[in-house]
């Protein structure tokens, strides 16, 4: 089922959580709402779910306006950051809840409910823990139960609010891959909220980057990462070096006192060398080297005194044999220039 949010505005007192937001989510996609806290992403998700109501604008499922429907009528599956499992029920009872509370004429028989729950337990690989209580499960297991519980009612859309936010890094990684697999199997339109850009880029078909109640950019992970539409997106998705500069006749000059432009360069788009290789370059002095990890992270000070971060492959680093306090040349390979919060040129 496709989801449309049209001109949604929501205020909490004087705080504008969502300012005239428009969003369309095609049927069957797995979409990430990505943004820092306070960007309005959770509010938007809760408005889609019917747990919160917009001050203006409306929500449509498959083109039908459902703004006036309650959460109960919308038939959405909602997964909470802190699981919200019913603590006095076993795993089995938790998953069966949505089926058991149906009006009698729509309620499946006990045997049907049991079959459905067992099927879901198998899906989340927790068949042996059906009689446990939530407090006896690990965080990752609880979240899987919460997901199974949401799926039991065969929701038209699945909404997940920071589903992995309360888990530790390793479980988080496992679970998000598992979610991706699950989505490939069941194809229910899914929206998940996250503030973790890595998570969004890895799992989602499409990423919606939000900031201060606005949508900054919507696109595939590849698009938003490689072609950020705004300085905010550039900044938020991955590390970035920021220089002041100006653009004149197709050329970009960085570190000009008369600025007006901001130049963004990702750390891995900067190359370090001992000699200027003909192209654009600037001088810097190496301050700190961290070679733990797949990439070597070098922190340097530019000739005009700003810090600059460079990332390079391990073998390149070994070849160069860089040492602390050494003077080097830095060659930008790819940079992006924005003016007054708007992109004016891409260049090199």
């Amino acid at each position: 089922m496709s989801i449309q949010a049209v001109n949604i505005t929501k205020k909490f007192g004087h705080f504008v959580a969502l300012d005239n937001v428009d969003l369309e989510i095609p049927s069957g996609e797995l979409v990430a709402l990505l943004g820092p806290s306070g960007s309005g992403k959770t509010t938007l998700l809760r408005i889609i779910a019917g747990l919160e109501f917009a001050d203006s604008g409306n929500v449509r499922f498959d083109g039908n306006d459902i703004s006036d429907q309650t959460a109960r009528e919308r038939r959405v599956g909602f997964v909470f950051q802190h699981y919200a499992l019913f603590r006095h029920m076993t795993v089995f009872e938790n998953i069966a809840f949505g089926l058991k509370v149906r009006p009698r004429q729509y309620r499946p028989s006990k045997a049907q409910i049991r079959a459905k729950v067992n099927e879901l337990l198998k899906l989340i690989q927790l068949e042996t823990l059906a009689q446990r209580y939530p407090s006896q499960l690990s965080g990752g297991q609880r979240q899987r139960v919460a997901l199974a519980r949401a799926l039991a009612v065969e929701p038209s859309v699945l909404l997940l609010d920071e589903p992995f936010g309360a888990l530790d890094a390793k479980v988080r990684m496992e679970l998000r891959r598992w979610l991706r697999q699950l989505h490939d199997e069941i194809h229910v339109t899914s929206v998940f909220v996250t503030h973790d850009q890595e998570e969004a880029l890895e799992v989602a078909d499409r990423v919606v980057v939000m900031n201060r109640g606005h949508i900054e950019q919507v696109g595939s992970p590849e698009e938003v990462y490689n072609h950020p539409a705004t300085p905010f997106v550039y900044n938020f998705l991955g590390n970035v070096n920021l220089f002041h500069g100006r653009v004149d006749g197709g050329k970009t000059y960085i570190h000009e006192t008369e600025t007006g432009h901001v130049v963004y360069v990702r750390p891995h788009s900067l190359e370090i060398d001992r000699l200027p290789n003909g192209g654009s370059h600037f001088r810097a002095r190496i301050k700190h080297i961290n070679s733990a990890g797949p990439l070597v992270k070098v922190e340097a000070i530019t000739e005009w005194g700003d810090p600059v971060h460079v990332e390079m492959a391990q073998d390149r680093f070994r070849k160069l044999q860089l040492i602390k306090n050494e003077n080097v040349f830095i060659i930008p390979k790819d940079l992006r220039v924005f003016e007054n919060q708007k992109k004016v040129a891409g260049g090199n």
Binding site: R74, F86, H88, F97, V101, Y133, P134, A146, A152
Partner: protein, 302 residues
């Protein structure tokens, strides 16, 4: 190398041996325990022993005769009736108030909490007087009620009203912190899963607070049966008609009928013991119950 400052040696060998940072020296421990035991003995166990020994001082037959006496039976019946009405009403009120306060934000919330606490802070005698001033013959609504032949003061309705008022905060006060701490995510989950408001209340909210609720009911009931001050003001002390157990005991005592007075008092004491027992059982059960927060205790004023 920086200068090192020597730490004073605390020499708390007992604590170290006990393996606990919070342990005290043996002398301190035993004197604290001793004070507690003496205090408990003088103020709790001795009175209880006196009640039962005085009740049985003139033999078992006098004891049971005092309980079978018509006025005593009437008092017992009235006490049971008043609690049987007051406790369920406060149960409904307490759950609704705690639900409203715990789950929703609205203006005047703090005022409502203060109002709920009012019976705790007002002397029971004053509570009784409020009803006399409202419904008594000289009171605000007195003439109107006299004209319509409605009798509240010096009658059973007044006793029930006073009991309800005095036991008003027990259940609500018990549940508010519990419901607030639990938040409303589980209810939201239930609603998104298709549960109606009632289903959410009976299948999610109430099961989550059941031990706290039971605890509140027990305290509420104990107080409803034991209430003296407020009931005394509105009752009129009509033997066999408007006397509750505490009032009956007072009358017997004032008439120097010590054995019967203590006999009826022993019933209230037994009720207190039973309450304590059930209360401990509930607390124990609540701790056993996985995931439920510890039962929150409320203050009592008499």
């Amino acid at each position: 190398m920086a200068t090192t400052f020597p730490l004073p040696s605390l020499g708390n060998a007992a604590a170290r041996r006990a393996g606990r940072a919070t342990s005290e020296r043996i002398l301190v421990r035993w004197s604290l325990i001793g004070i507690t035991v003496i205090f408990l003995g003088v103020f709790l166990f001795m009175p209880l022993a006196v009640v039962f020994s005085s009740a049985l001082a003139k033999g078992v037959s006098v004891y049971f005769a005092a309980l079978r006496e018509p006025d005593a039976l009437a008092a017992i019946r009235l006490t049971l009736l008043a609690s049987a009405i007051a406790v369920p009403m406060n149960l409904i009120f307490g759950v609704s108030a705690a639900w409203a306060i715990g789950k929703f934000d609205f203006s005047g919330k703090n005022f409502l909490i203060t109002l709920i606490d009012l019976p705790f802070s007002v002397s029971p005698v004053v509570s009784g007087l409020i009803f006399v001033l409202l419904f008594g013959l000289q009171g605000l609504m007195g003439p109107w009620m006299a004209a319509h032949n409605i009798k509240i003061i010096f009658a059973v309705p007044g006793i029930v009203l006073a009991t309800i008022f005095v036991t008003f905060p027990f259940i609500a006060r018990e549940l508010i912190p519990l419901i607030q701490a639990q938040g409303s995510e589980e209810e939201e989950a239930a609603i998104t899963l298709g549960a109606s408001g009632w289903q959410t209340l009976f299948r999610v909210t109430l099961p989550n607070i059941k031990w706290g609720l039971l605890y509140g009911v027990i305290l509420c009931n104990a107080r409803a049966m034991g209430e003296f001050g407020a009931v005394s003001v509105v009752s009129g002390h009509i033997r066999g008609r408007t006397n509750t157990m505490p009032l009956h005991i007072e009358i017997l005592y004032n008439e120097y009928q010590f054995a019967p007075a203590f006999a009826v008092a022993s019933l209230l004491a037994l009720l207190a013991l039973l309450t304590l027992f059930v209360k401990s059982a509930v607390e124990w059960k609540a701790r056993q119950h996985v995931g439920e927060l510890e039962v929150v205790k409320v203050g009592e004023t008499v």
